[in-house]
C-alpha cells in the first residue's frame, strides 16, 4: 500500500489526511484465472444451460437489454446524440417540441450538432447554462419534435430498474437505483499542500504525494503569492480560495521560488474519504473512463448503470417509460449519477424563460467547459 512520505516531526500533530489503508486489494492474475476450470458436464447439464443462459452470463447481455425495448421506445424518440466534430460527446433530452434540448454542459467544448433517431442532424445553439448542475439548454431549428415525458412520481426507490435511452431500438444501458435521491455534501476541493504563515506571505511546508500540487510541480519552500486575481496573505486565504472552486477546476498560482516568480496552473483535486490521492486515482482508473466533471452536483439519483462519459446528458427512464432523471456523470467504477426529474423540470422552465444565459465570453455554442 502506498504511504504518505514520512515526516517525523509532523507525523502525528499536523496530518490533515487520515492514514487509511485502502481496504481492497487488487486481484492477482494467476490466482483468479486458475479458478476458471472447465465445468464438469453431461449433455443434460449443457442443455439446461442453454435454456437459462443463451450466451454470456453478464447482466447487460443483449437478451436482458432486449426486454427493455418497450420501456425506452417513447423516450428514444426524445433522445439525441450530441456530436462535436461528428463524434458523440453526450446524449441529450428534447424538453420542448420547438427544439429545446437539455444536455451535459461541460462536454460542450465547441459548436455541436444534435442527431435524432431518424438520423437527422441539426446544428445547435447554446441558450442557457447552470454550472452547479452542469446542465445546458441547446436550441435546434426544428418543430413538432417529441418532448420527454417526465415522471411526476417521487424519485424511484432503491432496487428499481432504470434504463438509459438511446437513438436506436435498445437502451444504451440498464441498471438499478443504488441509493435514494439525495443532496450531496459540497466537495472538499484541495490543492494538497501544508502551509504556514511566513511574515505576510504563505510558504508551502509540504506537498502531498500524487496531489494536485504535486502534479502541477509545486515544491516545498515555494511561496504562494496569488491565486487567480487574489493575493494570498495567509494560509486561510489560500484554503478558502481553493474551497470556493470545484475539483477539476484550474487554478493559476503565482509562486515565488528562489527569488524567481513562476506561474503555475494546477488542476484542483478532491479530498477523498479513503486513502491518499494516489490511491484515489488508482481506484478511479479501474474499469472504464469517468466523466471529467463528476463532482459538485447539488442533488443526485445514484444508480449502478455502466455508462461511458459520452452516454451522459440524456434521459433516464423507469419501467413506465417516464423520465426520472437526466444522466449527468459516470462517477466511479460503481456509480453513475442522474439529476432527478423534480430538480430538472423547474430548472428547464427557468432556462426556457431566459434565466442562466451562458457567460458573456462564451459565444453561443462555444466553449462552456470549466475543465481542461
Amino acid at each position: 500500500m502506498r504511504q504518505l512520505p514520512a515526516s517525523p516531526r509532523r507525523e502525528t500533530a499536523l496530518m490533515f489526511l487520515q492514514r487509511v489503508v485502502f481496504a481492497l486489494l487488487l486481484s492477482v492474475c494467476l490466482a483468479c484465472s486458475s479458478g476458471f476450470a472447465a465445468e464438469p458436464d453431461s449433455d443434460n447439464h449443457w442443455l439446461s444451460r442453454i435454456r437459462l443462459l443463451p450466451g454470456e452470463h453478464e447482466r447487460s447481455h443483449r437478451t436482458v437489454k432486449s426486454a427493455f425495448r418497450s420501456v425506452v421506445e417513447s423516450a428514444n424518440h426524445s433522445t439525441v446524440r450530441v456530436l462535436l466534430d461528428g463524434l458523440q460527446v453526450a446524449l441529450g433530452a428534447v424538453v420542448h417540441e420547438d427544439g429545446h434540448i437539455v444536455t451535459k454542459a461541460s462536454e460542450l467544448k465547441g459548436p455541436v450538432e444534435c442527431q435524432f433517431t431518424n438520423g437527422r442532424r441539426l446544428a445547435a445553439k447554446l441558450v442557457a447554462l447552470k454550472s452547479d448542475y452542469d446542465l445546458a439548454l441547446l436550441k435546434v431549428e426544428g418543430e413538432g419534435l417529441l418532448a420527454t415525458k417526465w415522471s411526476s412520481s417521487p424519485s424511484p426507490t432503491i432496487g428499481s430498474w432504470l434504463a438509459t435511452s438511446s437513438t436506436s431500438e435498445y437502451p444504451t444501458a440498464i441498471g438499478i437505483v443504488s441509493a435514494n435521491a439525495r443532496r450531496l455534501p459540497k466537495p472538499r476541493t484541495v490543492l494538497g499542500v501544508g502551509l504556514e504563515q511566513s511574515g505576510r506571505r504563505v510558504r508551502v511546508t509540504r506537498v502531498l504525494v500524487g496531489s494536485a500540487a504535486a502534479k502541477a510541480g509545486i515544491l516545498r519552500g515555494d511561496m504562494i503569492v496569488s491565486i487567480g486575481e487574489n493575493a494570498m496573505d495567509s494560509p486561510k486565504s489560500v484554503s478558502s480560495t481553493i474551497r470556493q472552486m470545484l475539483p477539476g477546476d484550474r487554478a493559476t498560482l503565482i509562486i515565488e521560488r528562489a527569488n524567481r516568480s513562476l506561474s503555475i496552473s494546477a488542476m484542483l483535486g478532491e479530498a477523498s474519504r479513503l486513502g491518499n490521492p494516489d490511491q484515489a486515482e488508482l481506484m478511479d482508473s479501474l474499469g472504464g473512463p469517468l466523466s471529467a466533471r463528476r463532482v459538485g452536483f447539488p442533488y443526485v439519483l445514484q444508480h449502478d448503470t455502466v455508462l461511458r462519459p459520452e452516454d451522459c446528458g440524456g434521459p433516464l427512464v423507469d419501467l413506465d417509460g417516464r423520465v426520472v432523471g437526466i444522466n449527468i456523470a459516470r462517477v466511479s467504477r460503481v456509480a453513475s449519477y442522474a439529476i432527478p426529474a423534480n430538480q430538472v423540470k423547474p430548472l428547464v422552465a427557468d432556462m426556457l424563460a431566459g434565466k442562466y444565459p451562458p457567460p458573456a465570453d462564451s459565444v453561443a455554442s462555444e466553449r462552456v467547459s470549466t475543465n481542461d
Binding site: M1, C29, F36, G55, S160, R333
Partner: protein, 349 residues
C-alpha cells in the same frame, strides 16, 4: 499492492469464446437429437421458472423482478455495516441476532482489536475483531455493544455450493468509504463464474470500501463476501460464504492462519518420496531451513507448538504460516533433541 492482472482480460475473453463455441456445438447437437429441454421451453403447458431464476424477457418479467429486488433491498441494507479497524475501512454484514459480522481478513486484521461499525441508519457501535483466514481473505467480527430489542438486524448465510453462473445477485457495501447520509449502496448483477474453493466472480461492481460487504442471492441469503477486483468491470471477486461456515470454529475462537495472496510461505526442506515420517531428506541452500541449521537426516518432531507426524503434516503447518514468522522447531539428530528457530520466508516465484 499487487500489479494489475494484465493477462486477465485475455483469459476471460478466451474462456468466453471457448464457451460460445461449445454452446454453438451443443445447440447444433440439440437440434439433431430433439431434446425435451429446448423444445419444452416453447410448449405452452410448461410453467416458466420464476423470473428471478432466469432472464427477464418482457415488461411483465421486469416488473416482477423489480418488485422482488425492491423488497430484498429493504431486508439486506439494514444488515450491512461500515467497518473501521485502525486505519482500515471497509464493510461487513451482520449474520446473527447476537451480532457476528462477516468481513474480510484485510479489513479486520489481527484479532482482539476494537472495530467501529456503522449501521445503515448511521448508528455507531463497537465490536471486536476475531479470527482471520488470510489465504481466503475471510474475517470475523463480533459486535460488543448491546442491541436494542435484544437483536441486531441481520441476514442469514446461504450455501455457496449451490451458486450457479448466470444467477442474479445483489451486493451492498460502502464504496469509497462511509459517507454520511448515504446508506449502504445496492448493486445488481449476475454470477459470471465460480470456483468452489476460492472465489465467486460477479459483475456487481466493487471498489475500495466495499471489502467485507455481502453478496446476496435472490432469496436474500449471503452467498459471498466482497474481496478483490481486477481492472475489467466484470472482475469482482467474493469469498464464498461456505468458507466462513467451514472455518467457523477457528474464526470464532480468534485463530489466524494462512497467508496473503502472493505471499506463499516456505522453509526449504524436502522429505523422502514415500517417506513415513518427517525426516528431512534435503535442505536447499540459502533457504530459511538452511539458515536455521536444519540438516538432512534431522527428524522434525515439533513445528511451533504442534507435533509433526509426517512430512505432509509439516507442509500443512508451514502453509498456515506467513513470511516473517519465527517458529521454534524441535528435531531429533542422532540421539539428541535439538531446538532450532526458523524464519519462514516467501516462496520465490
Amino acid at each position: 499492492m499487487s500489479s494489475f492482472p494484465k493477462g486477465l482480460t485475455d483469459v476471460l475473453v478466451l474462456r468466453d469464446w471457448a464457451k460460445r463455441m461449445c454452446l454453438a456445438l451443443a445447440i447444433g447437437l440439440s437440434f439433431v437429437t430433439a431434446p425435451v429441454g429446448l423444445i419444452a421451453e416453447e410448449a405452452p403447458t410448461v410453467v416458466r421458472k420464476p423470473v428471478i431464476n432466469r432472464i427477464p424477457r418482457n415488461l411483465d418479467d421486469l416488473r416482477g423482478m423489480q418488485t422482488h429486488v425492491q423488497k430484498l433491498a429493504e431486508q439486506v441494507i439494514p444488515a450491512t455495516v461500515a467497518v473501521q479497524v485502525g486505519s482500515a475501512q471497509g464493510s461487513g454484514v451482520i449474520i446473527s441476532a447476537d451480532g457476528y459480522v462477516l468481513t474480510v481478513a484485510h479489513v479486520s486484521g489481527r484479532p482482539g482489536r476494537v472495530a467501529t461499525l456503522v449501521l445503515h441508519d448511521g448508528t455507531k457501535v463497537s465490536g471486536e475483531t476475531l479470527g482471520i483466514h488470510r489465504t481466503l481473505d475471510a474475517g470475523l467480527i463480533k459486535i460488543t455493544a448491546t442491541p436494542r430489542n435484544d437483536e441486531w438486524p441481520h441476514a442469514v448465510m446461504g450455501d455457496s455450493e449451490k451458486v450457479q453462473p448466470g444467477q442474479w445477485c445483489l451486493v451492498t457495501g460502502h464504496p469509497g468509504g462511509f459517507e454520511e447520509q448515504r446508506p449502504p449502496v445496492l448493486r445488481l448483477g449476475r454470477v459470471l463464474a465460480f470456483h468452489e474453493d476460492s472465489t465467486i466472480n460477479t459483475d456487481c461492481t466493487l471498489i475500495g470500501g466495499d471489502s467485507g460487504g455481502p453478496l446476496f442471492n435472490m432469496n436474500g441469503k449471503v452467498i459471498g463476501v466482497n474481496s478483490r477486483i481486477g481492472n475489467p468491470l466484470t472482475v469482482n471477486l467474493h469469498v464464498p460464504v461456505n468458507v466462513y461456515r467451514e472455518s467457523w470454529d477457528r474464526l470464532a475462537r480468534a485463530d489466524t492462519w494462512g497467508h496473503e495472496p502472493g505471499q506463499r510461505p516456505y522453509i526449504g526442506v524436502q522429505g523422502k518420496p514415500e517417506g513415513k515420517d518427517a525426516t528431512v531428506w534435503r535442505v536447499f541452500p540459502g533457504t530459511p531451513a538452511a539458515q536455521a541449521g536444519i540438516k538432512p537426516g534431522d527428524l522434525i518432531l515439533r513445528f511451533g507448538s504442534r507435533r509433526v507426524k509426517d512430512f505432509e503434516a509439516l507442509q500443512s503447518l508451514v502453509r498456515d504460516e506467513r513470511p516473517g514468522n519465527r517458529i521454534k522447531v524441535l528435531v531429533r539428530r542422532g540421539d539428541d533433541e535439538v531446538q532450532l528457530e526458523v524464519t519462514v520466508a516467501k516462496r520465490p516465484d
